[in-house]
């Protein structure tokens, strides 16, 4: 009896989480524009989506920004995680405190603060400002995932490599980086997701014509939701599903859990 209750409970929560997604997927294949009646199967919203330049440009922007920003953030964050480890506890706490600010602060405040800063320095908003803003809020996630891996044993391994004659660079690349790899990968993935998912900060820092998927949806919803957005949702969901399964599969093979 208790078992059934458990299953029912989980079932309800899962339904709650997936209902909107299922609805979007179903409606994306709907022939009519109606949002309540399924009148027949059709791929026309997919056609419309792929031929819509604004959507495609937004998709391209989203991914170029996410990839560049997450890679940049991962590089800076990884070096930082190692560098912070070499500091005194007081310095560490201070720096980590600052590192936590974008994590804990409201997105809207971060976005506004960056907007004001860009304009104060006379930087006109464009693709670059979005990129810089994204790197800013991605770095903390990288540090968060890499730092726990920078521990005493990695330090010792690094010293062991030096002891055996390796240069600092060689030891860093050959010994330290492989040790940190799961953390680095997790950080990269996390910041990529955060970047793709971000709306608020992009909303405030985007320049003329720079739409990401999020900002495009925001303006489209005001005009009126078109089913081509459902098609977009479906494709994004499918991509996410495949990517997550892939990552999970790969990490299981290596016994490193990257996500969660």
């Amino acid at each position: 009896m208790k078992k059934y209750l458990k299953f029912i409970y989980i079932g309800i929560v899962v339904l709650f989480l997936y209902l909107p997604i299922i609805a979007l997927v179903v409606l994306s294949f709907n022939e009519s524009k109606s949002m309540s009646v399924f009148s027949g199967f059709s791929l026309k919203w997919y056609e419309e989506m792929f031929s819509n330049r604004m959507i495609m440009q937004a998709v391209i922007n989203t991914f170029t920004i996410a990839i560049t920003a997450s890679v940049t953030a991962t590089i800076i964050g990884t070096f930082a995680a190692v560098g912070i480890d070499g500091m005194k506890t007081k310095q560490q706490n201070l720096i980590l405190g600052f590192n936590n600010i974008p994590l804990l602060n409201a997105d809207i405040v971060t976005g506004i603060a960056l907007l004001l800063t860009f304009l104060m320095f006379g930087i006109s908003l464009n693709w670059g400002t979005v990129y810089l803003a994204h790197v800013t809020f991605c770095i903390p996630y990288v540090i968060l995932s890499v730092r726990p891996r920078v521990n005493k044993s990695v330090n010792t391994l690094y010293e062991a490599a030096l002891d055996l004659g390796a240069s600092r660079f060689y030891a860093f690349v050959k010994i330290v980086l492989p040790e940190l790899r799961p953390g680095i990968l997790a950080g990269l993935l996390l910041s990529f997701t955060m970047s793709v998912d971000d709306f608020v900060i992009t909303h405030f820092t985007r320049g003329a014509g720079i739409n990401t998927i999020s900002t495009l949806i925001y303006s489209q919803v005001k005009v009126g939701i078109r089913p081509s957005l459902f098609a977009l949702s479906t494709i994004i969901f499918a991509l996410v599903l495949v990517m997550l399964l892939l990552v999970n599969f790969l990490s299981k093979g290596r016994k490193e859990s990257v996500i969660y």
Partner: protein, 358 residues
């Protein structure tokens, strides 16, 4: 023997904490030297300064007469066996051992031979392709040794290399280390907090506390003739008793006078007296110099260990003997003169500091 390493007036602080204070030490070729002391005494710091992982705030380090104080770790001709081995987990056994050789640009043939030789030396031939996490603690220990010695260092620094092993394996590895040392003919500098390891393997033991050398000498000297209360207490169990040196060769302890063999402490001077528990003779009442009562008794294998209360200030003697006495038994105690070790009282509240050049 040729002088190999010299530490000159090293001082090192971590924040407000002074770990080493004007520390000097000389190591000769082909010695097995053990730095022995409780954790936090500065022994590991000495090793790290030697290895090039820490820089001294003050003082110089010489290696074969050359000043290497500012030489980075990867340029020093000495190798370290780390506390927890620090084997590279993403490489197999062979890649680990070959790591240093590859960096030095040795030929593949040389590397293969050397790895082969090193594995034989540590009795692990055939383990080349094993991954590190498939090795037992003892095996990892051997690989760590092999990885260090293939580079043919003049000095091998060992930082509590046996600390993570269980007792039986530790004893085995002690003999192994002595054998390796003999075969390689190089200098070992060994850091441990385990007095048994120090006494078993070393040619010379240096007891360190609070950043100072407390005593140095052969294992026998250290054990039998501790120079101060710290050493006496740290090396084995001891009874450390306030005493009064009445005159040469006569000391008053616990209300009774004992003949001893020490001279030159002056007359009627307070001293510390060290007597090892196994050196206390337990006799029937009336047959010894002082009377006591058995407080506790534990059988610890070969012999019994007892606490015996005695004398004018109820001093509790730690005593080991083969005969069985019951709790509450009235006994007498005696010590033969050569087993009484007389030491100066420390001049200040600090432990007495003695700097000795080896």
């Amino acid at each position: 023997m040729k002088e190999l390493i010299k530490l000159e007036n090293i001082t090192k602080n971590f924040g407000n904490l002074r770990v080493l204070d004007d520390f000097s030490l000389t190591v000769h070729e082909n010695e097995f030297i053990t730095l022995l002391g409780p954790s936090g005494c500065g022994k590991t710091t000495i090793l790290r300064i030697l290895g090039g992982f820490e820089t001294a705030d003050v003082g110089r380090v010489f290696f074969e007469g050359k000043d290497i104080t500012d030489l980075p770790a990867n340029k020093r001709n000495l190798n370290t066996v780390f506390q927890k081995y620090a084997l590279f987990p993403h490489m197999d056994v062979k890649a680990n051992i070959a790591f240093g050789l590859k960096i030095n640009g040795k030929s593949q043939k040389y590397i293969d031979d050397k790895v082969d030789y090193a594995l034989k030396l540590v009795n692990l031939n055939g383990f080349e392709k094993r991954s590190i996490d498939k090795l037992s603690g003892g095996q990892q220990q051997r690989i760590a040794m092999a990885r260090a010695i293939v580079n043919e260092p003049k000095v091998l620094l060992l930082d509590e290399p046996l600390g993570a092993l269980d007792l039986k394996l530790r004893q085995e590895m002690q003999y192994e280390l002595i054998r390796l040392k003999k075969e390689l003919g190089i200098t070992f500098i060994y850091v441990t907090h385990d007095q048994e390891e120090a006494l078993t393997m070393s040619d010379k033991v240096i007891v360190i506390n609070d950043g100072y050398i407390q005593q140095m000498g052969t294992p026998e000297e250290i054990y039998n003739e501790p120079e101060n209360a710290f050493v006496a207490d740290f090396i084995g169990d001891s009874n450390i008793i306030d005493g009064l040196m009445i005159k040469d060769r006569l000391v008053r302890i616990n209300g009774a006078e004992f003949p001893c063999i020490d001279e030159g402490f002056g007359n009627n001077k307070p001293v510390d007296v060290v007597i090892r528990p196994e050196d206390v003779l337990v006799k029937d009442r009336g047959y010894g110099r002082i009377n006591g009562t058995v407080l506790t008794r534990v059988f610890i294998g070969v012999h019994y260990e007892m606490l015996i209360k005695s004398g004018e200030n109820d001093f509790e003697w730690l005593v080991q003997c083969y005969e069985k006495y019951d709790i509450g038994d009235e006994v007498s105690l005696d010590v033969i003169p050569s087993n009484i070790q007389i030491m100066h009282k420390p001049t200040s509240s600090d432990e007495e500091a003695i700097d000795i050049d080896i």
